[in-house]
């Protein structure tokens, strides 16, 4: 499929020139096209920030909801219509900050969705405050003396919660990022891809060069099934590993576990049974 099907004519993109989001937008389109996912069969759920604008620039179904709340609707959308491909897209602030509680609890649910976090280590849209992943010492107009909080480690937390697929990518590398995203979408169950993304305007520390210099790809021989090794990789900070860091033993997805799909695969939203008779029975059982 040609990735042009996702293009929008005369698209007025609000990102700064040079922003890492451009390449993520392109890469996501390519990955989706290679997987032959029809725009009609895809929903991207996003929050608020620079990254969550991504679906606005694509010819698809989207649910651009509240800051920090993109996972909750996504899980519900997938649950009531498992035939849809559901992707969640947003920033580090949206997903790990405001939305942190949904992050940890939806890993536990293991819905069959793909979670793409554009991690620029800063709050872009609100002009440069620290995000949960901002590195220590980073100065901002709010953190005037530099950040004093330990950066949030999404990879380690996901592994601690036995997430079924945990990966990290770098927006500057289209090819490998595309492959990682494809794997994530193909994975059955919750798949996290934390994507390093330079913010050229508000993050003058973690630049393209910095990310290049401070990351490396996991070797082919690396076995993502080993949870301890994965945890070790997850807490490396001299250089951050890129690639699929962890895959849990296979387990049923949230939707597969749901009683409503135990005996009937038809998406909940297309069922049309008339409830009257059963309801009458229920009412009469209270006599």
């Amino acid at each position: 499929m040609d990735s042009k099907v996702y293009d929008i004519e005369n698209c007025d993109i609000a990102w700064c020139p040079g922003c890492g989001n451009f390449n993520i937008l392109k890469t996501v389109k390519m990955a989706l096209a290679e997987l032959e996912i029809k725009p009609q069969d895809l929903v991207i759920s996003s929050g608020i920030g620079q990254a969550p604008k991504t679906p606005q620039y694509m010819n698809i179904n989207y649910y651009n909801g509240l800051h920090g709340r993109s996972l909750s609707p996504a899980v519900a959308i997938k649950a009531v219509n498992p035939e849809l491909t559901v992707v969640v897209q947003g920033g580090d602030g949206c997903n790990y900050g405001e939305g942190g509680n949904h992050f940890i609890h939806n890993i536990r649910r293991n819905p069959n969705i793909t979670h793409l976090v554009h991690n620029n280590m800063v709050y872009g849209l609100t002009k440069g405050q620290a995000s949960p992943t901002t590195q220590k010492g980073f100065k901002t107009p709010v953190q005037v003396a530099g950040v004093i909080l330990e950066p949030f480690n999404p990879i380690a937390v996901a592994i601690a919660l036995d997430a079924s697929f945990v990966a990290r990518a770098f927006s500057g590398d289209t090819d490998q990022t595309k492959e990682i995203i494809k794997k994530a979408i193909n994975h059955k169950g919750y798949a996290l891809v934390d994507i390093f993304q330079p913010c050229v305007t508000f993050n003058k520390v973690n630049t393209y060069k910095w990310f290049k210099d401070n990351t490396y790809y996991l070797e082919d021989s690396y076995d993502p099934a080993d949870r301890f090794e994965a945890f070790k990789k997850a807490i490396e900070t001299d250089k951050f590993p890129l690639g699929v860091i962890y895959k849990s033993v296979e387990k049923p997805s949230f939707e597969e576990n749901l009683v409503v799909y135990k005996n009937n695969p038809e998406p909940l939203v297309f069922r049309n049974e008339n409830r009257r008779k059963k309801l009458e029975e229920l009412v009469n059982s209270k006599k």
């Binding site: 725009p39 009609q40 069969d41 929903v43 759920s45 608020i48 604008k53 679906p55 606005q56 010819n59 698809i60 179904n61 989207y62 649910y63 651009n64 909801g65 509240l66 709340r69 909750s72 609707p73 996504a74 899980v75 519900a76 959308i77 649950a79 009531v80 219509n81 035939e83 849809l84 509680n101 949904h102 940890i104 609890h105 749901l258 009683v259 409503v260 009937n264 909940l268 939203v269 297309f270 069922r271 049974e273 409830r275 009257r276 059963k278 309801l279 009458e280 229920l282 009412v283 009469n284 209270k286 006599k287």
Partner: protein, 527 residues
Amino acid sequence: EFMSRIRGGCNSSTLRVSSKRNNAIVDKIDILIPLDQKAIEHLNKRITKETIIFSEKANFNDNFKDKCKMVEVAFSDIAKEIGNKLYSNTVAAGLISGLFSVDINIFNEFVKQGFADKLDDIINANLEAGKKGYEIGTGLLKSESIKIEVNKDCIVQNEIIINGTEAIGMGCIAGGCDFVSSYPMSPSTGVLIFLAAQSEKFDILVEQAEDEIAAINMALGAWYAGARGMATTSGGGFALMGEGVSLSGMTETPVVIHIAQRPGPATGLPTRTEQGDLNLVLYSGHGEFPRIIYAPGDLQDGFDLAYRAFNQADKFQIPVFILSDQYFVDSYYNTPAFDVSKLEVEHYIVKTEKDYKRYELTENGLSPRGIPGYGEGLVAVDSDEHDEYGRITESMDVRSAMSDKRLKKLDLILDDLLAPVLVGPKNYKNLIIAWGSTLNVIKESLDKLGRNDTALLHFKQVYPLHPETINYLKKAEHTIIIENNATSQFGNLIKQDTGLEIDTKILKYTGLAFTVEEVVDNLINLI
């Protein structure tokens, strides 16, 4: 009435038996069975000369010797004989059934159902205990030491006995609810549990959310994708849902929320009742958008309004609220079986065409609602101000048009209101105004008062207000509002709408519902 603890504490249940349809709560206790020592003291104010207390010696309180009639029944001893002191509850239940000449078979059925998840031994012991109690009851009747006059009514056999939780739960099912995401919170959890119990039978996806914010955002996602979702919560949990309510308003994604009120602020009194969250629900969410608020007065309302909430939410693409309270959801009584034969799940979802615009500007403000994966179109919803395609915009003209579009739906809603119900004479001089769960108590109070110049105007749709409201008020010489809160929130809403100040306010905010006596006492001094 029960306290916010799991075991122990001083709790009481009130059971009313009457040959007329009386569904209200009264102060006066006719028959009291104290099962511990503190009970009598605790209920002190509700004991009168006519009260008969069946009690074992240990639980009786000498101070009450001359204040009521006391009959000794050795509940614990009888229970212990059967095997365990715990059975004394069942002995008491049997006693009451005997007194009221309940058919012993019906009683036994009841016991079996109540202990259905227990071992056979326990069921049999309870049946035995019940029987003992029953015999004492019928014995007392025969000895004519006690007279009880209740006429059995055949109609009642065709009635159902449920509480408000069940009424609302069945209404949700009737309304096509197939998705529930909620976080437990008393007294709203009952609806979640009811729907969970019915989930397999009716294909309802029930998910406990990690918090209330997740709950409403999941429910919204479910509606977006074509399901009919709801959340059930109480004031404190609902206070966390405001941003989601606003999102519903902006994206025009329907949602239904049940709020069972309890006394606030903050944690307040978790297991008591109040009508203190009307304002919260009325104004929750930032920005401006239309909404509907229903407040059931009786079980039939609970069923009807929950059913209606789903259809109206879908029709107008707005948030619809069912505002109940602890008294409503926890009160059981009998009511005619709900007629489900004419109920329709009204379908408003369209199959989309290629160039589908989720927010198409139409004359009346309603844009046909598509869902993803159904048709050739794409369905884009946006929390930012958006154009017809659902894409973010900063155009002032589009903003104005979209704001008008959303607010215009209020006109459609106004054409489709539930009128307030007038109970009593049309030519009233005194008009009592009430909303939600106080209906039955006030109705019975008016019956008691038997005045032909006094009527009740009861609102089950509290927002938007029906335009006839002002005329009803103007006709009265004296308007009186009765609310289970401290600041007369509904009275203020009426004033905001009509400009009319209600003359007299009867407000209660102790955490308990009004009783018939209270209302009667209050009214007698006023009218």
